[in-house]
């Protein structure tokens, strides 16, 4: 039947329901498994093939050799687009994705994070 106020019933029933929105950041919904968030680098697994650097669309990832068979990874989270192509490209699974997504920082320098034997993904 064509008439004005067709959504009447829905509106009234919503009034008695809980809101669909969440009071972020007090409440938060989790990210699904396999969500592409911040990258994680395991220095022991890296063989220095630099495939990740070659495939990265934005040049956000840098692998540096610090000693014999020891590598350091520097990721610019400001450049990273979280496509996880580096994870696919890595032949030794040294790169992984995590579900961490709240990565905003007040200082641009803090966006560059370093992974090595001592530093586990913090700004230098």
């Amino acid at each position: 039947m064509i008439r004005p106020g067709r959504m009447f019933k829905q509106l009234v029933s919503s009034f008695f329901k809980k809101p669909a929105t969440l009071n972020y950041p007090a409440e938060r919904s989790g990210m699904p498994e396999g969500f592409r968030g911040k990258l994680k680098f395991t220095p022991d697994k890296c063989i220095g093939c630099l495939m990740c650097m070659r495939d990265c669309p934005t040049g956000a990832i840098k692998i540096k050799k610090i000693a014999e068979k020891q590598f350091e990874c520097e990721i610019d989270l400001g450049k990273c687009i979280y496509c996880a192509q580096c994870v696919d490209s890595c032949p030794k699974k040294a790169l992984e994705i995590t579900q961490e997504f709240e990565l905003a920082k007040l200082d641009r320098k803090k966006l560059t994070v370093v992974f090595n034997a001592e530093n586990k993904g913090e700004a230098r």
Binding site: P4, G5, L11, S14, K17, P19, T21
Partner: protein, 313 residues
């Protein structure tokens, strides 16, 4: 003297009106959010918005007529606040009343719309000017049904005095029920006056940005927004006084609560209507008002004349 000043400035005058206006805005926003399955703002949000706007810079368009541009928000606020004094709230007597004050109240409530027009027109911005013309065009559409439906109620009470109208209905309980058509028409016309959906054509965001208020900012915008809120309370109080004139002889406290319930009910109806309907086009709105609402309001006049002729001899 001090009593009168207290009444005008603090209670139930200006200050009380402002508190009520901000509360009405909160009820409106919160209810519409809850109907849309959202959370809505916290209770202090309208006040916070008001204070924030007061602290912002006033930007004057270089082509605008500065005096009119600055004066209009104040005039809008003054006009709607003044009309509050003549409306009986929880007693059958208003703060101030004289014979014919219902006409004065209706005309005072027209002034804010005129200020939107003048403020928009003298902003000299394309969007403001279109919005200004639209609010004036809309005025001619909803004023007639609104006036007719309120005057129909006055006709039955045989008085042009709001306090006397209220007194009549409290002496003749049950008669206010006959004004149902008039109340519906007046409520819908009030939506047009307050420029709320479906009649928010003069400030249709997706078409003309903010209509008349496009160029307004800072304190001036804060006053305009407050004046709309005040108008909402005054309009609701007027409708409550004219169409729900029961329980006026109660004790002050109970009467006060009853008054708040009535106003909240009308504000909720406004909020509900604006949530459940889409915005109309200007031509559709005018057709609607002249083709359906004006005849219906006229029907109410005829019903009341018959009632008066048959029962109140």
């Amino acid at each position: 003297m001090i009593q009168a000043l207290f009444n005008i400035i603090i209670f139930p005058g200006l200050l009380f009106l402002f508190v009520l206006a901000l509360a009405a805005e909160f009820v409106d926003r919160k209810l519409s959010a809850r109907l849309q399955n959202r959370m809505g703002p916290p209770w202090f949000q309208p006040l916070a918005d008001f204070i924030k706007l007061l602290g912002k810079e006033n930007i004057l368009p270089c082509d605008a007529d500065v005096h009119i541009f600055k004066f209009m928000p104040v005039l809008a606020l003054t006009a709607s606040a003044t009309s509050f004094l003549y409306i009986p709230l929880w007693q059958s007597k208003a703060l101030n009343s004289f014979n014919g004050d219902v006409i004065v109240v209706l005309y005072l409530l027209t002034i804010p719309t005129l200020t939107y027009f003048l403020g928009g027109w003298y902003s000299r911005s394309v969007y403001s000017m279109i919005g200004a013309v639209r609010s004036l065009t809309q005025l001619f559409a909803y004023e007639v049904p609104l006036f007719m439906s309120i005057l129909a109620s006055a006709l039955l009470a045989n008085s042009w005095n709001l306090s006397e109208i209220a007194l009549f209905y409290s002496q003749h309980p049950g008669y206010w029920l006959f004004n149902f058509i008039g109340f519906s028409i007046a409520l819908i016309s009030l939506l047009g006056k307050l420029e709320k959906t479906p009649f928010d054509i003069p400030e249709a965001e997706t078409e003309i940005v903010a209509g008349s208020f496009t160029e307004y900012s800072g304190k001036l915008l804060a006053f305009f927004r407050l004046s709309i809120d005040v108008e909402m309370v005054v309009g609701s109080s007027l409708l409550a006084a004219v169409f729900f004139p029961f329980g006026l002889g109660l004790t002050p406290v109970l009467g006060f609560i009853l008054y708040l319930v009535k106003v909240t009910f009308i504000v909720c109806l406004i909020s509900f209507l604006r949530t459940v309907l889409a915005r109309l086009r200007l031509d559709q709105m005018i057709t609607l008002c002249w083709k359906y609402f004006a005849p219906l309001a006229f029907l109410q006049v005829i019903i009341n004349l018959i009632l008066k002729g048959v029962f109140l001899k």
